[in-house]
């Protein structure tokens, strides 16, 4: 076991949590990510290991499926796999082993910063951030769009729970955008 200490995307040793009114924004570092892109001509084949990995059928366009390990659609024949970090620190290697030569797999764990928004007024916050149609935000929805010119994934985990994934290097700007929107919508 190595002895290097991790920092969160915001640069702290502990994840940041902010609450404004009834909405909470929490930094979630305990997550591992790997991207999977089917190899040319193996688009259908690649769905089988994917289903095995997440224990559910491959997600449709703009959806995610799975439970402990989930996959969300990120592009044509491309998915992002999300799993708990503690059990999947080497997620990309695990995933590659399952997919073999049906897909290209790339470690994405630290490429992203995740912020979870929870509360019954999250839509009032989201409509200040993101141009996606919030009427389509139902559990299982996953889409990429931009927030303050930052390309972000939004995953709707429940009517009062949305995860936002933004590029790790922009975590500070994304967090600032979220917090100001929370204050404004409060």
């Amino acid at each position: 076991m190595h002895d290097l200490v991790a920092t969160t995307a915001l640069g702290g040793s502990e994840p940041r949590v902010d609450t404004v009114g009834s909405v909470t924004c929490a930094e979630v570092p305990g997550v591992a990510l790997a991207s999977v892109a089917a190899r040319r001509g193996k688009e259908t084949q690649a769905q089988k290991p994917l289903a095995k990995l997440i224990g559910a059928p491959a997600p449709e366009v703009q959806r995610f499926t799975g439970d402990q390990v989930i996959a969300f659609w990120s592009g044509p024949d491309q998915w992002m796999i999300e799993a708990p970090f503690d059990s999947h620190a080497d997620l990309a290697d695990q995933v590659k082993a399952i997919f073999g030569d049906t897909a290209s797999v790339t470690e994405q764990t630290d490429a992203w910063a995740r912020f979870d928004l929870q509360g019954d007024r999250i839509n009032a916050v989201l409509e200040l951030l993101c141009q996606l149609d919030l009427r389509r935000f139902e559990p299982g929805y996953a889409a990429r769009s931009s927030i303050h010119h930052i390309g972000c994934f939004a995953l709707c985990r429940g009517t009062d729970h949305v995860s936002l994934y933004g590029p790790r290097s922009s975590a500070g700007s994304l967090h600032h955008a979220i917090i100001t929107a929370m204050r404004s919508a409060h």
Binding site: V61, G75, D133, A143, S145, G151
Partner: protein
Amino acid sequence: MIINHPLLGPRDASEFTYLGDASLIDRPDGMAENAADAFYNYAYLRDNPAGEHQELWYHEAGDRSWLVITRNTLTHEISKVELARDVARARGRSK
């Protein structure tokens, strides 16, 4: 503008980056005899129509698909949106 992405449905055009005429798909063969001429035409000359225009847009803040969009340059009406990869294949491009 709204681009009705063939996979994702309607998206604000601000998520996309524009390149230009879809004829940029038709890259000539660089090893051909007439390559100099063909590349000059390819890289520099445009139909620039006032009316229907097929053009390339990239879903930079979305799923990173390149799209071929048929749009009227007089009205901005978009009549067709296709994945550029499908269009490229249909135009005979492969490897």
